[in-house]
Symmetry: C2
Subunit: 299 residues, 2 copies
């Protein structure tokens, strides 16, 4: 018998993930603050809950893919939150890209109530979520991991148990989020350079993708960027949120990474200039401004 699942957060990532769980035959109770996003899954067989507490009471395993640490904290510790409504023995799987110190604190509070927790953030974007091909990196007790593995296998094709402590998944995801925006910046600087040198950017993108410059980000976003299509995908605001978590984690670890810090400051500027809701590839705007040239094929 399949466990009854809850899913909190029907955003760009959560909605396709919940859909895949429904397709795989799991009963799923979904909740979203803006209710219409949850109701969109009713046709696919989801039960739509009125509150977090309802999800916590009906489901045995509650997954969440939420906006940020603050929202997760609210959902877990707030009035009518998971800690008030979940019975001992149930599991909370936080797939949000969360700040590891926050995850560690929440895991301690869950443990006091007898609730198990995994932190299990993902990489692969909306496409990976839709195709069930995410990379999932998680932390938490091995036996809880084993219990949740069949569920996670519906969502991802690479599932890495990073360690027995909650927080290990989050640290791995932050390492991922060091690389992703740096790859976006690499692509942006290369294409702005090519534009300034007068090259045909579609030819350039084709040449770059055939050699050592290729990346998952390049394959996913170069052609959209060249077309000036900044519909998200992951937004610049979320990218900045993750870079801020990385910055906080580096402070706590007593370290500094110069390129990551530079990239964080560039995303801060992009968001300050009002582009936070665009796809994170819109970082190219910063380099276009400075060079006085557009890195876009046909505009």
């Amino acid at each position: 018998m399949k466990e009854i699942l809850g899913f909190l957060g029907m955003g760009t990532m959560g909605a396709p993930m919940a859909r895949n769980l429904l397709k795989a035959g799991y009963p799923v109770v979904v909740y979203n603050r803006s209710r219409h996003k949850a109701e969109a899954l009713a046709d696919a067989g989801a039960q739509v809950a009125d509150s977090v507490a309802q999800v916590a009471m009906r489901a045995q395993v509650v997954l969440a893919c939420l906006a940020d640490a603050q929202v997760v904290e609210q959902v877990v510790t707030g009035p009518g939150g998971l800690l008030q409504a979940m019975e001992p023995g149930k599991v909370f799987v936080d797939m949000t890209t969360n700040s590891p110190p926050v995850s560690i604190r929440l895991a301690r509070l869950c443990a006091e109530k007898g609730v198990e927790m995994l932190d299990a953030p993902v990489s692969g974007g909306d496409v990976g979520a839709a195709e069930g091909k995410l990379s999932i990196m998680l932390g938490g007790k091995p036996e809880v991991f084993q219990r949740c593995l069949p569920i996670l296998e519906v969502l991802g094709r690479r599932i890495t148990h990073m360690g027995g402590q909650v927080g290990a998944g989050g640290y791995a995801k932050l390492a991922n989020q060091i690389m992703v925006p740096l790859h976006l910046v690499a692509m942006s600087e290369a294409l702005v350079f090519g534009a300034k040198a007068g090259l045909d950017l579609n030819k350039l993108a084709s040449a770059l993708s055939g050699g050592m410059a290729n990346s998952a980000i390049f394959e996913y976003r170069a052609s959209k960027m060249l077309a000036g299509d900044f519909a998200p995908g992951g937004t610049a605001a979320v990218q900045l949120k993750d870079l801020n978590y990385i910055s906080q984690a580096m402070d706590a670890l007593g370290m500094s990474l110069p390129c990551t810090e530079l990239v964080r400051s560039l995303y801060q500027r992009l968001v300050d200039e009002g582009h936070g809701k665009e796809d994170h590839s819109s970082i190219v705007r910063i380099f276009e401004q400075a060079a006085g040239v557009l890195a876009r094929g046909k505009v």
Copy 2:
């Protein structure tokens, strides 16, 4: 009938490229300053020349994959160089990662002698060279490109004619060389962050390669880097050379790219500290030093 080819420079890239041309049935006259590297190809059927001039006289199309702009300039314009020895109608294909202004100047000198020139640098590393899977980006007249295409198709699987002017290939390759070291830095910063957070780096590398953080560089170098294997591949000194060409090109174009400039300064430091002959992935040393931790699995 296949044209007689010349090949100057039997280094990490040139030697496997010349081997592939021999395998494909081309007669190839090879030359290298340190003669033993040329003689290593005699078994495979290469004719070993005593001088650049001998190659220029025997071959119809002379390819070169040399250390830097200065060496190419010497080989073309120096005493006993190509300009002195090549007859009109022959072709010089420079596959070196060269400085575009230098390529443009050399093309003008070749044209005065009736010698055709293409600039055709490559990406794909020693592995791409050995497997005939390079990405080749080239500039020059369309009819010269067409004449050389069958030769280039032996060496690469993605061949992009970037434009009718010599230099277009070089600009595209420099765009490539903006991305490659940024990807190495992204990988380095992520793994040093993971090391400082206490993660198992082999698990982390596996998780990262399964999602949006993956790159050609990551697949090519992450496991070697984690093993502390810095045998080149492309060296840090060559990476710095390319970053200096990019810097010069940006000055000429009247632009600046902040991450590329930062990465250039980091490679300068790496080379200053005596690591120029190591693989370019040894840039991780700079971040390891600053964080006081090794980003290597088993050392």
